[in-house]
């Protein structure tokens, strides 16, 4: 009884599968054989009987010799084709089998795909070669040094990280092909998460018995501070952990003294403007060079038309800014782009911004009692926001009237301390906000928590009401002036924000995680909140401005009489309008999304900055409506989306910018770890590293067989020839 040996072959295949096409060459001798049979000459022959006897006598021998030679020649070509295809066999235990897989090693190339890898180095040796191109070259060089039965994996460190070659492959060309195909995202890699991802993939790979046992990780990165510094401790820990498990070789690709100018920020004072109003914006530039830069030209374009060009001097390692004013000629979305002259890293030389220009403000005031919103109207009319409020040309409706109104005509609805709100009206308001409308709600003495909580207020307001607070003079907490509403008061104590008299306010619970607290009250909850519900925003004033009605119960505040009231109300309104455009000014990696007017499935079209168009199918949303989502925003630039709107299809621009971080390109020092071996070049290969020239014994065997068969074929052909002669 024959027993199987200890080696069980689990995996077999070819490293260069396409080379198997050479086996087709085996058909050549056969084709020649048949071709020559067709190319016969004709001769009249006298000794035909003698010839016939000879052929009859020799036919068996001839047939045997012919087939033997044909077999040998075909076999030579087949074996040669197999050898070219680099076959491999993996043994269960490479130790038990000295032939198969004993030398196999798994090379795991981990490549940083941060946008800084696009930095073009200009030096004497490699003119204008980017770090990414150098990464490809270095990878190629390492692959060329590998053994013929080694296999490869490719993992990219990005945001998120990915594994283009997750399963070990012997097709080394695939690694380079994948790298060349990959487009660098305009994002920086999340190094700690990426390195953890590498570890987890390698753990999974080790579970595969067919995978080589010897694993070596090669990390290629420019190690720039912008990528590695923000979470350096975590990155270092992840690197140490990886190096403790696998031999880790590091190929640094950075330059110690890179030069770079970064357009770090482009910001408009407001994202909403009325037609004819000037758009005031500022572009901020950082000079990372070690020398000052003079006459740096900053170009501003409005809707792809260059309108302003300004120059500025920026000291070394410092910020410089350019403020400018633009006037949009048409209402609608306007695209602003600021650009710097091209340098070694072009991706951070441009930023984009979308602002909206409207021909008028459309604000609806809802009152259950007359003049509930009067103080707010007065506050808003003090500025540009509501020019006609003093003339009474404002629309005021009762909650019941809302049911019969088409709310899509309005940008903002203001309600102040509504005593009663029934469910249909609430649903109407909720629908208004979901579709992109903005709502300002003041909650005061007329408000009842039971009514709001029964209406599922948390879906609209972002919280549930508990009860009214105790009556006392509450101190304002500006929450470090982080909010755009509180920010204008910073440094102006006389503006009265901190002294605004608040006697009572609503206490809240079950706050939504995304609820924003703009202004708070010391030792209590928030005073002003904002919450995004669907596409729209809701701002809540948890102590409604008093109407100064003498018949009213004891007032909850004296806000309306305070100097902070006007700027507070205007800031609240402006922040809501600006919030609305937050979804159109995003950073790389954010998801684009929006709701369509149709209540049935439809399509939306996204046009990327490079002009590529992609059709999206709308998805059903929680409120029963339909919306679209686009996730491939790894490239910065202006995206445009054509989706269904109540006024018909319209093109909406979305600006996608680099993450507003410093493009600090200087490389950090590598962690001093014994298991991490930096490699500068092949010449600097670590001493003692075995030369990776181990060739596949299978291929060697095949080539030896080819050689032997060639000799045998030559001898047999010679021997038969001798017999013939």
């Amino acid at each position: 009884m024959t027993m199987l040996g200890p080696t069980v072959f689990l995996a077999a295949g070819f490293a260069s599968l396409w080379m198997l096409a050479w086996i087709a060459a085996a058909g050549i001798p056969i084709a020649i054989h048949f071709f020559l049979r067709r190319q016969q000459t004709k001769v009249s022959w006298a000794a035909i009987e003698l010839l016939r006897k000879v052929i009859e006598q020799e036919s068996k021998r001839l047939r045997f010799e012919q087939w033997l030679l044909l077999l040998l020649r075909t076999l030579i070509l087949v074996l040669f084709g197999l050898a070219l295809a680099r076959p491999y066999l993996e043994a269960l235990s490479s130790k038990s089998d000295p032939i198969a897989g004993a030398q196999a090693k798994l090379w795991v190339f981990v490549v940083d795909t941060s946008y800084t890898m696009a930095y073009g180095e200009s030096n004497s040796d490699e003119a204008d070669e980017s770090r990414w191109q150098r990464a490809i070259e270095k990878t190629k060089a390492r692959i060329e040094e590998s053994g013929t039965n080694d296999s490869f994996m490719l993992i990219t460190l990005g945001k998120p990280s990915a594994a283009p070659i997750r399963k070990p492959t012997r097709e080394s060309e695939r690694v380079v092909t994948e790298l060349k195909r990959l487009q660098l995202p305009h994002q920086r890699a999340d190094i700690p998460i990426g390195l953890t991802y590498v570890s987890s993939i390698l753990e999974q790979t080790k579970q595969n018995p067919a995978a080589p046992k010897k694993i070596e990780v090669v990390l290629l990165s420019d190690f720039v501070g912008a990528t590695w510094q923000p979470a350096f401790e975590q990155s270092e820990n992840a690197l140490v952990q990886l190096a403790s498990k696998y031999p880790l070789k590091v190929i640094p690709l950075g330059n110690s003294e890179p030069t770079n100018l970064v357009l770090q920020d482009l910001r408009a004072e407001s994202s909403h403007h009325l037609l004819g109003e000037e758009i005031r914006a500022t572009a901020t530039i950082f000079n990372f060079n070690s020398r000052p830069e003079s006459n740096v030209e900053v170009s501003i374009s409005l809707n792809d038309q260059k309108v302003i060009s300004e120059t500025l001097d920026i000291p070394a390692q410092s910020l410089g800014s350019v403020s400018f004013q633009l006037k949009a000629e048409d209402a609608g979305f306007n695209r602003i782009t600021a650009s710097l002259p091209q340098d070694n890293l072009t991706v951070d030389n441009q930023r984009h911004l979308v602002v909206e220009v409207r021909d008028n403000r459309r604000i609806l005031f809802v009152e259950s009692k007359k003049d509930e919103t009067r103080m707010i109207r007065l506050a808003l009319s003090a500025g540009d926001l509501l020019e006609d409020a003093t003339r009474g040309d404002v629309t005021v409706l009762s909650p019941i009237d809302l049911l019969a109104s088409n709310l899509t005509d309005w940008e903002v609805i203001v309600c102040n301390d509504l005593g009663y709100l029934d469910r249909p009206v609430f649903a109407q308001l909720q629908s208004f906000v979901q579709r992109g409308g903005n709502l300002i709600i003041g909650l005061g003495p007329a408000t009842t928590s039971a009514m709001w909580n029964n209406l599922d207020s948390e879906t609209l307001l972002g919280f549930q009401l508990v009860q009214a607070s105790a009556e006392k003079l509450w101190d304002i907490d500006p929450l470090e002036y982080q909010s755009s509403i509180a920010k204008p008061f910073q440094g102006f104590p006389d503006s009265g924000l901190l002294t605004t008299p608040i006697f009572r306010h609503w206490l809240i619970q079950d706050e939504h995680p995304e609820l924003r607290r703009d202004i708070g009250l010391v030792d209590s909850g928030p005073l002003v909140t904002r919450f995004q519900s669907g596409n729209g925003w809701v701002a809540c004033l948890l102590s409604a401005p008093s109407t100064n009605d003498s018949n009213a119960k004891s007032p909850w505040n004296a806000m309306a009489t305070w100097p902070s009231f006007v700027p507070l109300m205007q800031g609240l309104m402006q922040s809501l309008l600006d919030s609305q455009l937050e979804d159109q000014n995003l950073i790389c990696g954010d998801v684009l999304g929006g709701q369509v007017s149709s209540m049935t499935p439809s399509t939306a079209e996204v046009i990327s900055p490079n002009g590529e168009s992609k059709q999206l199918t709308t998805e059903r949303l929680g409120d029963g409506g339909y919306g679209w989502f686009f996730y491939q925003t790894q490239t910065s630039g202006m995206y445009q989306v054509k989706a269904e709107h109540k006024d018909g299809d319209r093109l909406v621009p979305y600006s996608i910018n680099l993450e507003p971080i410093t493009s600090q390109l200087a490389s950090i020092s590598l962690p001093k770890l014994p298991s991490i071996q930096p490699i500068e070049s092949n010449a600097n290969q670590a001493p003692g590293e075995p030369a990776l020239k181990a060739s596949n014994p299978l291929i060697q065997g095949l080539l030896i067989a080819v050689l032997v068969l060639l000799l045998v074929e030559s001898f047999i052909a010679w021997y038969f020839g001798q017999k013939i002669g």
Binding site: L36, R37, Q39, Q40, T41, K42, V43, S44, W45, A46, A47, I48, E49, L50, L51, R52, K53, V54, I55, Q57, E58, L62, E65, Q66, F720, K723, I724, G725
Partner: protein, 298 residues
């Protein structure tokens, strides 16, 4: 060797169209290189004197007459004039084969030999006859020493055969039946036939006390088999064709052909017949004297 021999190689002879002239040219070349005639009779009884001709055997010169007249005469004996020779020429289709390196077909070569030999015999006052055959006797020219006999030779040799195949056994049997007394038979053929019937036929000839000389004529290609591509061999004499790769069987074929020649020679020797093989590429001016000289020695 006479320098003029170079003009009697097959290439030169092939350029001479009329067979008679071609044969005469050949004979002159042969005779000028011989010192005595190879075909002669033997008798103790003197018959007459004949003037010496180039090629005659010097031993037959009557030196006494020479001493008296200063002229060369030969003594001829009674039986010498009784030499009767029949030349048998195979006219089957296989004899028409001419290889790519040959200037004459086997038949043309045989015709040339037949003519030349006829010329030689008649010029010696001996009787020469001619038989052409295929599967049967095509023409029978009775032996004669008339000077006009050569013209008859030419006329018969240039007459096309009516059959394509060969039947040597039948032909030799018929020939033997027609001849009344022992005769010299010179057979010109490629002998592409079964060996056993040939052996039987030769035995029949020997039994009838005829003297047979076989001049086995073949083309160099038939022995060398110089083909190197897949070839379709179309059989002559109505035999089916064959397709083969000559490179693979050339060796075996050559060995078989050589063996056939050896067997044929052996069969001839067994029946006391002379066997000479001739390639059509060989110069007859060189080869025929050699054959005739061999006959003389025997």
């Amino acid at each position: 060797m006479n320098k003029s021999l170079k003009y009697f190689d097959p290439e030169t002879l092939a350029s001479i169209r009329p067979l008679a002239l071609r044969a005469k040219t050949l004979v002159e070349g042969i005779v000028s290189g011989l010192h005595r005639s190879p075909l002669r009779g033997h008798s103790a009884e003197f018959a007459q004197h004949r003037e010496y001709m180039p090629g005659d055997d010097l031993r037959q010169v009557d030196w006494k007459v020479y001493a008296r007249s200063d002229r060369y005469y030969l003594k001829q004996y009674e039986d010498e004039t009784n030499l009767s020779c029949y030349i048998l020429v195979d006219q089957s289709e296989s004899m028409h084969y001419r290889g790519k390196n040959s200037h004459l077909s086997k038949l043309e070569y045989a015709q040339l030999i037949a003519c030349a030999l006829g010329h030689l015999i008649v010029s010696q006052q001996d009787q020469a006859g001619l038989v052409t055959y295929t599967s049967r006797i095509e023409h029978w020219l009775p032996a004669s020493n008339s000077p006009a006999q050569l013209d008859n030779f030419v006329q018969i040799l240039e007459t096309p055969a009516t059959q394509t195949s060969t039947n040597l056994t039948q032909v030799l049997s018929d020939t033997a039946g027609r001849l009344q007394k022992p005769t010299l038979l010179i057979l010109l053929s490629d002998m592409l036939d079964e060996l056993e019937p040939v052996s039987q036929a030769l035995k029949l000839i020997a039994h009838a006390r005829h003297d047979l000389v076989l001049l086995h004529i073949f083309d160099p290609d038939e022995l060398d088999f110089p083909f190197d591509h897949t070839t379709r061999f179309d059989g002559l004499e109505n035999l089916p064709s064959l397709t083969t790769d000559p490179l693979l069987i050339a060796g075996a074929y050559r060995r078989a052909m050589k063996q056939f020649h050896r067997d044929l020679e052996r069969v001839c020797r067994q029946q006391n017949s002379d066997y000479f093989s001739l390639r059509t590429s060989e110069s007859l001016a060189q080869r025929l004297p050699h054959i005739l000289a061999s006959r003389t020695r025997s």
